[in-house]
Every structure is written in structure tokens, then in C-alpha cells.
Symmetry: C2
């Protein structure tokens, strides 16, 4: 079976499954482009890729690789309080990957996307070099996913990183830290992107929800993105940071890849949204020259944690 035939099979199967999205997917995959019908004129778009050896270890179960490639992008949608519309995927396949693994990868991408109402409407797949060429053996698997999203009813604008105001509380959802696990196969591969919770939060808080980001680089660095985007500073309180069992605030700040939400809001914020815990972890303060963008109050005093965490290079 040639690669072309293999992919044709995958796309046909997907096209059949897409029939449930008939109102949204006007032209399904198989043409030069797919066509989506929008109900709102506001479109959100972003791309994230996963590179073997960089974003996941060689030997990671291929289903989890496909799942994460989509879930990371869905987490970006959640960070804007947007609603998924569709996704497309490009995969550069190392020659070592057999057809069964390729099928499993695609199925994981498709199923994860479908679960979050983000139908897969296009793809491009190619081989990195030639299985006969020994040098190609080290070509990494690269999966790039692009998502498009729109504003849900009841959410008048996307929540950016730049709206934080002095006096806002700083909040996180869920618990943080230890996402890689002892074997590298932890929550960073199996997390639930907070798409539903984010929309519910935006509806609940309305104009009081000022800024939001998803936690991929670690709380210190991501709070830094909020602070620099908004021209403010953030003071976190170490004792209040909710952590997973066995983790401390150093894990919450340094491990990264929690894919929880971090947001700033004015006024009272409930203790949970859709069953997901919300914890106040700090406050937005004025930025001062020479002061830390993000400082953390600990038992031993305040420390600068702006640069503590994962540098994803983005």
C-alpha cells in the first residue's frame, strides 16, 4: 500500500465521520482547501508543533503523541475563551514509522479533535527521506497542528494576555506541578484542555475577566507573559499555589506543561467552574523599574520568578 493510498483511506474515513458536522464543514477534506461556515465573523487561529526528542521522548506511545499535538492547541483556544471550529494537521514521518503507527497517530489526532468539537478538516503527510538511506533514521517525527476557533455566544471578546489591571486577583485552575511524571509519561500527555471551563468562566465573570493564558511554560514564566503583555507586575503567594501530590511551588513554577488556566479578574471569583477548582494565587500590582515582573512571596522572603520555568521557544 502506497503512502497515497494509506492517506486516502484515512481521509475517506474521516470525511464520512465529518458528516455529523454538515452545517459547519461545507467542503470536507479532499479538495484543494476545506470550507467552514462561521456563525461569527471573528476567527482565532494558531499553530503549534511537536518535534520528537524536543517535545516528546522517542518511544512515547504514538496515540499519546497525537493526542497531545491536538490538546496543546485546544489549550490555546481555552486560553482565549474561544470555541473550537476545526483543525488541520501536517505530519513529517520518519521512515521508521510503520503504517500501523501512522494510522494510530492519525486516529488519535482525529479522535481528540472530535472529542472537543474541533473536526479535522485537512492534512498533509510526507516522509522525511528514504527508509533505504541510513542517515534518515534520525529524522524526527514532526506534527504541526493548526486550530481555528471563534467566539462562543455570551463571550463578547477573546480574552488576551494584555488586559490585566492593577488590583486584579490572579487565579489558576486545577493543580500544578509534576506534569512529566517519573517516567516522562505524565499529565503533559494526558491533560484535559480547559475549553468548556474557560467558556463557562468567561460567561460567568463577563467584563470582570481581564486577562488569561494557559500554563505551558510554568506559572512564573506564564504569569510573566500576562504581566509584560499588560504592562503590570504580579505578586504570587507561594503558600496558596495548588500543587499535585508530591509537588511544591518549585514544581508549579518550574515544571511547566500543566495546561491549566491562569487568569486575572476583578471582584469575587467562585471556588470552582464546571467542577474544576479555582484558586487565588496572587494579585496584579504596578510595574516598577528594577522590580521583578513576577515575584513570589515565600516563608523566606520575596523572590523573582519571572524567568523560572520552561523555555518553549515561542
Amino acid at each position: 500500500m502506497s503512502e497515497f493510498q494509506l492517506l486516502r483511506g484515512i481521509y475517506s474515513a474521516n470525511a464520512a465521520l465529518l458528516s455529523r458536522h454538515r452545517e459547519r464543514v461545507v467542503i470536507p477534506p479532499g479538495d484543494d482547501l476545506a470550507q467552514i461556515h462561521l456563525r461569527s465573523p471573528e476567527l482565532l487561529i494558531g499553530v503549534d508543533q511537536m518535534i520528537e526528542g524536543r517535545h516528546f521522548r522517542s518511544g512515547t506511545p504514538i496515540e499519546l503523541v497525537g493526542r497531545k499535538a491536538v490538546a496543546r492547541n485546544l489549550s490555546d483556544i481555552a486560553a482565549m475563551a474561544a470555541r473550537p471550529l476545526a483543525c488541520v494537521v501536517a505530519v513529517a514521518l520518519p521512515p521508521s514509522l510503520d503504517h500501523e503507527a501512522i494510522m494510530a497517530l492519525y486516529e488519535a489526532v482525529r479522535a481528540t479533535a472530535e472529542l472537543f468539537d474541533c473536526p479535522l478538516v485537512g492534512g498533509d503527510t510526507g516522509s522525511s527521506g528514504d527508509a533505504a538511506a541510513p542517515s534518515a533514521a534520525s529524522a524526527p517525527l514532526v506534527i504541526s497542528v493548526t486550530v481555528v476557533a471563534t467566539l462562543p455566544a455570551g463571550v463578547p471578546r477573546a480574552i488576551t494576555r494584555s488586559g490585566a489591571r492593577i488590583g486584579d486577583g490572579v487565579f489558576v485552575t486545577g493543580k500544578l506541578g509534576g506534569s512529566f511524571g517519573p517516567d516522562g509519561l505524565g499529565r503533559h500527555l494526558t491533560f484535559t484542555p480547559r475549553v468548556q471551563e474557560s467558556i463557562a468562566l468567561a460567561r460567568m465573570l463577563g467584563e470582570r475577566l481581564h486577562a488569561m493564558i494557559d500554563l505551558s511554560d510554568g506559572l512564573g514564566r506564564d504569569a510573566g507573559h500576562l504581566a509584560s503583555g499588560s504592562g503590570v507586575a504580579i505578586r504570587l503567594d507561594a503558600a496558596s499555589i495548588p500543587t499535585h501530590d508530591g509537588c511544591t511551588w518549585t514544581n508549579a513554577l518550574g515544571d511547566g506543561e500543566d495546561y491549566e488556566l491562569c487568569f486575572t479578574a476583578e471582584g469575587p471569583v467562585p471556588a470552582e467552574v464546571e467542577g474544576l477548582a479555582i484558586t487565588r494565587v496572587g494579585e496584579v500590582i504596578a510595574a516598577d523599574w528594577g522590580q521583578a515582573l513576577v515575584s513570589l512571596g515565600t516563608a523566606g522572603g520575596a523572590i523573582d520568578v519571572t524567568s523560572m520555568g520552561w523555555e518553549h521557544g515561542r
Copy 2:
């Protein structure tokens, strides 16, 4: 300079340039997602990647690689008679690529996109492995571009591959064949995607323009996509196929990567659109079991050319 700083510089420069698209680009790159404002509720989307060693030779000037990565996607937009809205790019960088080359690559992507009014609104860049690890030396450069487009005024629907009708003429724009050139650095790297011409054609022919595709796999194979998509067959006439100097119909059918348009239409079609030649090369006929999907009439008789050309694996 870290990769993060490098990219921040690129994105900031691009964000400044994006100010000219203020009405369209509501949230510029730098947040979790970018936001685009649409004037039409119809969105077209597709992704195409370029893998070093597969879609371009190692050693190809990096500017031409970046240009082609975008231009191929723009050609898909042209194939639907759509108008570009925006693009995003993911790049997996081999450790061998230095900062200067990375900057040149991004600038080529940005400038090509800008030239066709398709602003670059997002990106993700990561390294394939570690420069210190000798095995990473063979990791290929992978560039994946996703484009979104919409329907221009005066074009009521996207032109798909599936609308060809028996009795339609089959037409191509420009000349075909020899796109790789003697040194591999030919037109497949420098072609002009027919975005403007396609929109003008769709407006001119209106409902008489039935089906369209861009010529990437070669005329035989791409006409086959039109035929199979439409449930018809196509008869081409070898003598009428417009070819570049030094090329014959075998090049037009076999070389691929012309990125001209091939369309079927009812009734009279002008000899050019926006200064680009249009040539009638065949007609749409009924599909018959056991007959070729695409046949070519030559001096020596009719031959089946359905599978003649480039298999891009898509």
C-alpha cells in the same frame, strides 16, 4: 542570542508590519492565538508542508524555500477562486541552520505572504534535536504553512474539483512542463500563484466555471482528480497543450509543480485573464467502466495518462 529572543525579534518586527492590516488582524501574533475579522462567514483552510530532501533539495537557497512554502498554499487558494486572509507557519529547524538563515527563511515567508495580501499572523519554531548530537545532523528542515481564505465579492461559491459536467471544455492557464529546470532551481521555486487571475476568472465566467484545481502533480494526474471528483472522464488533446520552451506534452503531464490552474467551463472562454493565457486542452466526457479516467489523444492514438505524473502523497 537564544532561539526565544530571536523569534521574539522576528514576531515584533512582523507585528509592526501587520499594522497595515489593522481592520483584519484584530489580535496580532504574540498572544495564545491571533484574531482575524472576516467579512464573509465562509472560511477556507488548508495546510501544506515542505520537507527537505523530499520537496526541495538540500542546498536550495533558503529564501526560495520560504517563498515556495507559502506560494504552494496560495496556489491552493487560487484553485478554489478564494481570497487570502492570513497564514501561520510552523518550522522544525535542523541544528545546522544558523540564525542568519533562520531570519532569511522567516523574512521570505513573511514577504511572500504579504505580497499576496495573506499576512503571517502566527508561528511556532523549534529545533530538531541538539547541535551537539551528531545524529541530529540529518534532521531535515520542515516548514508547514496553513492558510485561511474567504470568498471574494462577486464569487458566490468556492470552485471545487467536483463540479465538472459532461460537455465542459477543459482549460489550463500559462504554459506547462520543465518546472524543475536543469539544476532543480526552476519555476517550481519561483512560480506566481494565480490568486488574482483565478478570482478574475471566477467573476468573468460566473456559474459557467464548474470545477478547478491547481497543477501540482502534473496535468494527467490533476485532471484525474477533477474527473474522479466529478464522476466524469476527461479527454485531453496532446497537440493543444501549451508547453514551456524545450518541453513536450510528456513534460506537461509528467513533470508536475507547474502551479497553473486547470478548470472546466461551459461555453466560450476568453483567450486570457489578467494577461495570463488560457488554452483549451480537452473536454469532459462521460465516464465509462474500463475506460481511462483521463485519456490523451496523440498522433499515435489515445493513451491513458491518469496516473502519469508526480505522486505528492496527498
